[in-house]
Amino acid sequence: MELLSQPWPWWAAGIIIGLTVPALLVLGNKHFGISANLRHVCAACLPANIKFFQYDWKKEIWNFFFVGGILFGAVAATLWFQNPDAVQIHPQLAADLNEHGITKIEGLVPEDLFSWKSLFTLRGFILMVLGGFLVGFGTRYAGGCTSGHAIMGLSDLQVPSLIATISFMVGGFLMANLILPFILSL
């Protein structure tokens, strides 16, 4: 039990995530990919005569069950396998965040940036709302996210997925190192 509550090492998580690929294929010929759910929500709720959303989303309903499972797994991790120790982060990251008044290093997201209160500050709004928008817009434009391209696509040795994954990383490096410090200073 204590072993489960400690933060898991990278290889353990990597194995479980990697095994998701054959599990979904063998259980029902399903290709691992999560961002498609965002599209299925659009198709189900607000197709609005847009051709991109005119399809039978019910054929992809398994994916809603899959993310429902993710939600449940996360709740279980929090309720029953909560890590009792303080979160460890790189000292340089802690120092840089501290400079911008982000001092409460707890949980999985800094509360100073991601909370209802923060939503009504400029930097919180940019990170939560604009950040989320870019995730939804960008993944669909790219045709997949970290799961569909970086895990599933690379596992299938797809060159377009490699190109997409490299683009994800370039965007992330630019944001984390060059743009984010400016947003945090707002």
Partner: protein
């Protein structure tokens, strides 16, 4: 005896199914399984998702801090996770193809080659920016909400809005 000729009744012209074509636009998640199952058969995907979500949280893959450390090259953790997952996934896909492993319902497991388009670069860059801002890709958004960070549901709604706006402008964007 009737000497009527048995007519081969021509099958009604099959309605052209554009559904798969539309669904496969820019998405990896297409399957054309012909099986019809009751809804609760889908619960097996929830079980897989639950293990996945547990690993997401326990290995802190959904942590904003770990994502920052990854992009700031301050930690090997995320590279280890993604690298291991790709190696395990690639071995699995190789074995499935090589041994022609079928799904548990006996269906052939199909793979769809992806075509390159510029969206993978432009969209990829935009998603990368958002990933480093929110510390989450679409999967971790659900997991972060599950850990009790309910305000992240705003980020999730915004991501859905982003997807919708992409769909709206799709024809005008370079691909």
């Amino acid at each position: 005896m009737s000497n009527n000729i048995d007519y081969q009744i021509p099958a009604p012209a099959e309605a052209i199914n554009t559904d798969l074509e539309v669904r496969s636009l820019d998405t990896m998640c297409v399957n054309e399984s012909q099986l019809k199952h009751p809804w609760w058969y889908n619960l097996k995907y929830s079980v897989v998702g639950a293990f996945f979500g547990l690993a997401f949280v326990k290995a802190e893959i959904v942590s904003w801090y770990r994502i920052q450390e990854m992009f700031r090259l301050e930690s090997f953790h995320m590279y280890g996770v993604i690298g291991t997952a790709v190696v395990i996934g690639a071995i699995s896909v190789f074995l499935i193809k090589k041994l022609r492993i079928k799904s548990i319902y006996g269906e052939e497991i199909l793979f769809h080659p992806k075509k390159f388009n510029k969206g993978q670069i432009f969209g990829g860059l935009l998603f990368g920016l958002g990933w480093a801002m929110t510390g989450a890709c679409p999967g971790p958004l659900f997991a972060q909400i599950g850990t009790g960070a309910l305000a992240i549901s705003v980020t999730l709604l915004s991501a859905i809005a982003g997807t919708w706006v992409y769909g709206y402008f799709r024809e005008k964007l370079p691909h």
